[in-house]
């Protein structure tokens, strides 16, 4: 017993005599490293790591808050997201990073709100995510309604007056064309019709035939479907002789879209940024290539970098605190954080950040910047479940 007392006293003394340990920001990543969303979450997490390594190498956030990551794969599945989020909360993380789509991210809302820990989806763009998710849920991407407003306005300005939409009711993200048609009609355009498909459908010949039979042909076909549906849909449309302008969204900002050859030429889509010369994104891309040895092929690398920048700014704004509630309040009040893709503002939003939307055209198998217009706020549709 004496011995035990002695040892415990020594241990206690040792603990007290140690220098106060630097504060650590524990971030829990419950992201999709396998399954259908891995194509987005993997590059995001890659960019995330670059930023974290950079900050930690410089001594941590503000020089003293080191970042520690705990990572789990949620396999693009709602139930797994719920389980992983709960485990990360148990491990005492200060911030949760959730998968790229609103659907699996929503699976964690019960956990996030009862644990009162801020959660940010890597790249979900559905404005309904923070709306339903409550005050602890944030997004990290231009909202679907904002993207649709940008693309619809651009189309109308180009003189396109009729449009057709193809969407999938399977996820909220793939219903973005419904926002598009709302804005397009508000501007004075005419909707010629709509089609739905299911995710992973592969065969789009029926839809293509239906559109090819329209007379007159729509000026624009808008969809927010992504791989593997988008390439199949595009090929089917072109094979059926449809030559309308095709407009997509950030989900097709992937190497595939630029390697489709003639079929892909002329496609325009909205995304989170473009590396113009001297821009922060160009600087990030150079850094990415230097670290990994490969050029960055998608803007989602930079989006991951943005995410860490947001967290860094929040910790600094909270005076170096890693307390989840203080961090939440800090995130909600961030203004003009310089990310790799654009300036990011949460202040005055319900958790869906204000960020730049970029329009890109596929030209000669490469990106061509169409513009980075600011949307007319009065045109942006209210977020809704659809």
């Amino acid at each position: 017993m004496k011995k035990f007392l002695l040892i415990s006293t020594m241990l206690g003394a040792a603990a007290f005599s140690m220098p106060a340990a630097a504060e650590t920001l524990r971030i829990g990543l419950a992201t999709a490293q396998s399954g259908g969303l891995a194509g987005y979450d993997s590059p995001v997490v890659e960019g995330f790591h670059i930023a974290v390594d950079e900050i930690n190498a410089a001594g941590g956030i503000g020089g003293n808050v080191m970042i520690e990551l705990i990572e789990k794969d949620v396999r693009s599945d709602a139930a797994q997201t719920s389980i992983a989020a709960q485990e990360l909360v148990d491990e005492g993380v200060s911030v949760l990073i959730l998968p790229c789509d609103a659907d699996p991210a929503l699976a964690a809302i019960g956990i996030v709100s009862s644990a009162e820990i801020p959660a940010i989806s890597t790249c979900a763009s559905s404005p309904t995510l923070p709306m339903i998710g409550g005050e602890y849920m944030f997004a990290n991407f231009p909202g679907d309604n904002v993207q649709a407003t940008v693309s619809a306005s651009w189309a109308y300005e180009q003189g396109h007056t009729s449009a057709y939409i193809v969407y999938s009711p399977d996820t909220q993200y793939t219903t973005m064309p419904l926002y598009f048609s709302e804005v397009f009609e508000k501007l004075g355009g005419t909707m010629l019709g709509q089609d739905t498909h299911s995710i992973g459908q592969q065969d789009f010949s029926a839809i293509a035939t239906r559109i090819a039979a329209l007379s007159p042909q729509p000026d624009v076909i808008m969809t927010s479907s992504y791989e593997p549906d988008f390439p199949s849909m595009l090929k089917a449309l072109r094979a059926a002789g449809v030559t309308s302008q095709v407009i997509g969204s950030d989900g097709i900002d992937s190497p595939t879209t630029f390697s489709l050859g003639d079929v892909g030429e002329g496609v325009v889509f909205t995304t989170a940024g473009h590396a113009t010369e001297g821009s922060p994104l160009a600087a990030f891309n150079a850094k990415y290539e230097q670290i990994t040895g490969n050029p960055s092929e998608t803007v989602f690398n930079a989006v991951g970098y943005d995410l860490v920048k947001v967290l860094e700014a929040a910790v600094i704004a909270a005076g170096g605190s890693t307390d989840p509630k203080e961090l939440r309040d800090a995130i909600a009040n961030l203004e003009n954080v310089q990310g790799a893709t654009s300036l990011i503002t949460y202040k005055g939003t319900d958790g869906m950040p204000v960020r730049e939307v970029t329009l890109i055209r596929v030209k000669d198998g490469a990106r061509e910047l169409v513009g980075q217009p600011s949307p007319d706020a009065s045109l942006i549709p209210a977020p809704r479940m659809q």
């Binding site: 490293q33 396998s34 705990i70 990572e71 789990k72 794969d73 396999r75 599945d77 709602a78 139930a79 997201t81 719920s82 389980i83 709960q86 485990e87 148990d90 491990e91 659907d103 699996p104 929503l106 699976a107 964690a108 809302i109 019960g110 956990i111 009862s114 339903i132 009711p169 399977d170 996820t171 909220q172 299911s198 995710i199 479940m385």
Partner: protein, 593 residues
């Protein structure tokens, strides 16, 4: 009603209750993370035993049970989801459902009842299928229900996440659910229905021949297992708080089936063992998945390790323990292997009162172009022994199969008294006093000798006095000493005797024996002859005996019928048959001189 001794059931139920309570207390002491792991384990275990109730007892592997878990989960969630959230996320729900908001317990009960109803409809349709056709059709079921969950968007939110479900499943509610499921599964296994179903799994033809209605028992277990799956589904939905149709599809089917197969399908012990083994391995691997470092060596994150791990365990189990880690017996059956000495009370066998002869006319069986039995008319009276002989391929077994309902005759009719028996199926004929044995022994090899015979007694004559009838039959055939051995482990001669005992337990007035003396030595054959004589003399049973042992036939039979190439070529007393030129020719070939 239970068929196994209290010495098995009581320790088993006690062990289930104690183990679950202890594990729950331990997990509560260890903290929230362990509580959650155990909660998921309990919920998975409910599903695993649920699958086992059907697949283990019937022997038909089902890939479709996750559908019932899905139906249970969605039904319960629709009932507990807060009304305001329902209005926001499912605007097209009918009013009565949109405004319903009840607790987890009543919601689970309703979900189970609804699932049972669905399972009943599906089960009636699927019950017509056998073997691999049944297994493949369960795969179809999984895909169809998955399609319905995705397609019925107004109610299920389609493939989008169904979220906002109140997270009301606690460790203790999962523990109570699990206790309930394990006990139900354990009791069902040794219920009359469970025993009959297991007999059908071991040998469907023989089970039918002793009166088991396999399809009905399959339906019972199908519906019961669906109820357990629904319970598991309701609990997991209210644990996770969010579900999607993907949760009830291939990945989880694979995980839960892996637990069942690794542990051993046919026992509750196996289900528990498998669930523990797979859970331990996945929990360990999942922690390594995110990367770790050992002694300065950094292992990078490798996602997918868990699935590879489960695959590896399945391979290991299939190579080393193809019947699963726990084998084919419950733990208590191994520990208390000889629970009670069989005591034979006063013989309860009564001479048969059924004295109507069996009369068959014009029996014909054609297999494609081959006529195996051609226009044979024959009769058999209670109290007599009739021999049926003929060269190999002469149609003896086919005739016996027709008369016992195993085969449906191409033409011809047979009846007893006023009652027409042709057209009845095997188990109906067994219940009308005609029992049989098989040329190639068809015992239920993994059931005990006692269970082999008991299941016959339970499935005929309304199951009245079944235990005593079984014991008396075992005693009469001299195999009561083997009562607690597995039938498949007995010697050849003993297996033949058990088969006859099993037929006797049906209290037949007519008994068909297909080569009962095959593989017996002279002494065993003599003792068999003695037994058969007693059966006819004391109980008035009529015996139709097929055998190649002509000495046995000659000494034992009152009459002999001879078949050759499907035709009845002679019938008469042994001495008449011995001197019949047609018979001699059939056996020895035409006389050349």
């Amino acid at each position: 009603m239970l068929t196994s001794p209290r010495q098995h059931i009581i320790p088993s139920v006690l062990a289930i209750v104690i183990a679950i309570v202890l594990a729950s207390l331990l997990a509560s002491a260890l903290g929230a993370a362990s509580e959650r792991i155990l909660t998921v384990f309990f919920i998975s275990l409910i599903a695993v035993v649920g699958m086992g109730v059907y697949s283990g007892n019937s022997g038909i592997l089902s890939f479709g049970h996750l559908s019932f878990m899905g139906i249970g989960a969605y039904t319960a969630s629709l009932l507990t989801l807060p009304a305001n959230l329902k209005v926001a996320t499912l605007p097209k729900l009918p009013d009565w459902l949109a405004t319903t908001e009840i607790g987890l317990f009543p919601a689970s009960v309703i979900a189970i009842m609804f699932t049972v109803f669905v399972a009943l409809l599906i089960g009636i349709a699927l019950g017509k299928l056998e073997g691999s056709a049944a297994t493949i059709s369960t795969l179809g079921l999984l895909i169809i229900i998955h399609g319905v969950l995705i397609g019925w968007r107004d109610v299920t939110r389609g493939s989008q996440t169904f979220f906002g479900i109140p997270r009301e499943t606690t460790l203790w509610s999962a523990a109570i659910g699990c206790m309930f499921a394990l006990i139900i599964a354990r009791l069902y296994r040794d219920s009359v229905s469970g025993l009959r179903l297991r007999a059908g799994r071991e040998n469907a033809i023989a089970a039918s021949a002793v009166g088991v209605r396999i399809r009905r028992e399959r339906l019972v277990s199908w519906v019961l297992s669906a109820a357990l799956m629904a319970l598991s589904g309701a609990l997991i939905a209210h644990f996770l708080g969010a579900i999607s149709p993907k949760k009830f599809f291939f990945t989880d089917t694979f995980l839960l089936l892996a637990m069942l197969i690794v542990g051993g399908m046919s026992t509750v012990t196996g289900a528990v063992t498998g669930a523990v083994a797979i859970t331990v391995v996945t929990e360990v691997l999942r922690r390594f998945e995110g990367g770790f470092s050992v002694g300065g060596f950094d292992m990078p994150a490798v996602f997918g390790t868990t699935q590879i791990g489960i695959g590896a365990i399945i391979l290991f189990a299939m190579f080393r323990k193809p019947e699963g880690l726990a084998g084919l017996k419950e733990w208590e059956e191994r520990v208390f292997s000889r629970p009670h000495a069989v005591k034979v009370t006063a013989p309860i066998e009564q001479p048969t009162k059924d004295t109507q002869p069996l009369i068959a006319k014009g029996m014909t069986m054609r297999f494609g172009g081959l006529t195996a039995v051609n226009d044979v008319s024959i009769s058999l009276r209670p109290g007599e022994i009739m021999g049926l002989i003929g060269p190999n391929g002469s149609g003896k077994t086919t005739l016996m199969n027709m008369l016992s309902g195993v085969l449906e005759p191409s033409s011809g009719k047979f009846h007893r008294g006023e009652e027409l028996l042709s057209g009845l199926v095997s188990h109906e004929i067994a219940d009308r006093g005609i029992a049989r044995t098989f040329q190639n022994i068809r015992l239920f090899p993994n059931l005990t000798v006692h269970q082999n015979v008991l299941v016959a007694a339970l499935s005929t004559k309304g199951g009245v006095n079944a235990a005593a009838r079984a014991d008396a039959a075992l005693e009469r055939m001299g195999v009561i000493g083997h009562a607690h051995d597995d039938a498949g482990t007995l010697s050849y001669g003993d297996q033949r005797r058990v088969e006859i005992a099993r037929a006797l337990a049906c209290l037949p007035s007519l008994l068909f024996l297909d080569e009962p003396a095959a593989g017996m030595n002279r002494e065993e054959t003599d003792s068999l002859m003695e037994t058969l004589r007693m059966l006819t003399k004391e109980l008035g049973i009529g015996v139709l005996l097929v055998d190649h042992d002509l000495k046995l036939i000659n000494q034992l039979c009152d009459r002999i019928a001879v078949l050759n190439e499907g035709h009845l070529i002679a019938e008469g007393s042994p001495s008449e048959i011995r001197n019949n030129p047609a018979v001699i020719e059939a056996y020895l070939g035409p006389n050349k001189d």
